[in-house]
């Protein structure tokens, strides 16, 4: 269902329909989410809850991870009209929100006095830098969304630190293909970074 209306209650509150950059046509879930369809929220949750929860677990620990994950999706839902598909991916945007929520939770815990050893989750918190962890998990996820060949080339270039020529030899592809695949891959990853940077605090 596509709802395009702005309804206003008072007679003088005349509001022009707000122009919004259109969502990519291949992502109807994102546009339904932005327009307020709760079924789209469920789809967004199903697609991203593992990533968001895994991140929260790393940063705030297993005890608080579910609560913070809930806060992330609620904040995203409440801010959905501020999401601009023209400025990055929804995955990046969600992880950007998750970063802020995880930082909030970490600070709140730091302010809380008198946590006994049994209650303190610090022992199971694996990562301490919320930004770095979020970006690493976001790009790892985004890599999985790349076409197989491009993903392989990006991995060879950045995880294994091979030169383009070495990748061309390893994959038996022309050098031009290697460069264009890596470039397109980086552009897709960049869209995720942009979504991350655009997330509301």
């Amino acid at each position: 269902m596509s709802v395009v209306a702005f309804a206003v209650a008072a007679p003088d509150r005349y509001i022009r329909a707000v122009d919004r950059a259109p969502a990519p046509p291949d992502d109807p879930v994102t546009s339904a989410f932005v327009s307020g369809d709760e079924r789209a929220l469920r789809a967004v949750y199903d697609a991203h809850s593992r990533l968001v929860h895994s991140y929260c677990r790393r940063v705030v620990g297993p005890d608080a991870a579910a609560d913070v994950t809930q806060e992330v999706f609620l904040a995203a839902w409440r801010s959905r009209e501020r999401f601009d598909p023209g400025q990055g991916t929804l995955t990046g945007w969600l992880m950007g929100i998750a970063r802020f929520k995880a930082i909030d939770a970490t600070r709140a815990r730091a302010r809380r006095p008198e946590i006994s050893d049994e209650q303190a989750p610090e022992a199971s918190v694996e990562d301490r830098d919320p930004d770095d962890t979020a970006l690493r998990m976001l790009l790892t996820e985004a890599l999985q969304q790349l076409p197989d060949r491009a993903r392989r080339m990006v991995e060879l270039a950045f995880f294994e630190d091979l030169t383009h020529t070495e990748i061309a030899e390893r994959t038996n592809q022309p050098l031009g293909t290697v460069k264009s695949d890596i470039r397109r891959g980086l552009e897709r990853l960049r869209r995720n970074m942009e979504g991350f940077d655009a997330a509301p605090a």
Binding site: V8, A10, H53, V154
Partner: protein
């Protein structure tokens, strides 16, 4: 690594972004491995539902539906309202849409809690287009939902306006102003506005001339039944 990225782009800003990506990737992959608890979605859905209910009740939110008494304010009041600022109004409109969607969509999706009270296929009086109006009642509120198709004014106009009329003497009650010709307009009826007293749905074309009253130029009209 720097040399390889230089090979991919001549754009300085893009190069900087690529370098940032390369820096993140250099730390190695970090996979998502922990599914959330099975009940987490239910908790989120309940919180979203509570949001909708709270906003619908309007107890403490700035975007409450304006009561009829408030809406019959003086011209000064109206001018003040008009000056209130686009951002605030946009926020109010957004929340109001959320009210409508929360009340209608969620309960529609979950298959219960709403009742179609009355409907009307509006008749064309002037201009062009068609619309169907539905009055949907939930536990919390009553929503007038109008599905528009190809709405066209007969003359030059600035926007459309949705009204409820008293069939005996008109007495138009303004509900919402909008620009789009197609799509759905949903309005939570203000408390005190009864569709038994004002059962006629009317869509007019209006000029942005400061006159808040009905222009007298109706495009579509129909009685809820």
């Amino acid at each position: 690594m720097r040399h390889q990225l230089d090979d991919l782009t001549d754009d300085v800003e893009e190069l900087r972004e690529f370098e940032r990506i390369a820096g993140v990737l250099a730390a190695g992959p970090l996979s998502a491995t922990d599914d959330p608890p099975a009940d987490l979605w239910d908790r989120i859905a309940a919180a979203v539902d509570a949001d909708s209910a709270r906003t619908g009740a309007g107890a403490s939110t700035p975007a409450t539906v304006t009561s009829l008494a408030d809406r019959r304010g003086t011209d000064d009041d109206r001018r003040r309202t008009a000056r209130a600022g686009r951002l605030v109004l946009a926020a109010a409109a957004a929340v109001l849409v959320v009210v409508a969607l929360g009340a209608v969509l969620f309960q529609r999706a979950s298959g219960g809690g709403t009742e179609l009270v009355a409907s009307s296929d509006l008749a064309l009086l002037a201009g062009g287009g068609s619309a169907r109006a539905e009055l949907v009642r939930s536990d919390d509120d009553t929503v007038l939902r109008v599905d528009l198709s190809g709405l066209t004014p007969a003359e030059r106009s600035d926007f459309f306006e949705l009204w409820l009329l008293d069939p005996a003497n008109g007495n138009p009650q303004p509900l919402a102003k909008f620009e789009q010709s197609d799509g759905v307009v949903e309005v939570v009826l203000p408390p005190g506005l009864s569709t038994s007293e004002f059962p006629v749905v009317d869509i007019s074309e209006e000029l942005d001339d400061g006159d808040a009253s009905h222009s007298g130029k109706s495009i579509l009209r129909g009685e809820l039944a």
